[in-house]
Subunit: 105 residues, 2 copies
């Protein structure tokens, strides 16, 4: 089951634009102060670096990802998620738009 | 003064992707049921059609726009807004990312 909406949030109106727009997200803050983002990765192969640990939850579309130190590409599609350690990186390969919620920490 | 965030909303997690990603937005619903979207137009010249009337409020960056039936390009930058009638269209010309809130009706 996918998370179609998140209620009771404050949304930052200015988008985060990465890789010339291949990734666009909007930051949200929950009532308890938790910060997340909702975004989309368009067809591309990109490398993301993490500060805090992240859980990437797919809400539509799909991607393949490869964590730092791994040789294995794995697929993540709607309703699935994967975790990325803090101060690490992952490659992501997208052929159809990958829509996600990024949970931090 | 620009609107940096909108509180107490429900955000749709799946992005709206238009023109191969030259425009990406996320829908939001306010507590009273009002629907808006927050989005960004990346460098491009695009034509948008309206159903409901729209007010485009710029929160960062800038654009030039030309309403249907007008020959005049006008500039809209952070803190400014412009109105588009229902069932009409406008052209938008962006050279730096144009971040906006779209108010309907």
């Amino acid at each position: 089951m996918t998370t179609e909406k998140i209620d009771g949030v404050s949304v930052t109106t200015r988008a985060n634009v990465y890789f010339d727009g291949k990734c666009v997200s909007h930051g949200i803050t929950l009532a308890d102060g938790t910060k997340k983002s909702v975004g989309v990765v368009l067809p591309a192969t990109l490398t993301f670096n993490t500060g805090a640990a992240e859980i990437m939850e797919c809400v539509a579309g799909a991607c393949e990802y490869k964590l730092a130190g791994s040789d294995e590409w794995r697929r993540s599609s709607a309703g699935e998620q994967f975790s990325v350690p803090a101060n690490s990186s992952f490659e992501i390969r997208v052929t159809e738009a990958y829509h996600y919620i990024c949970h931090f920490g």
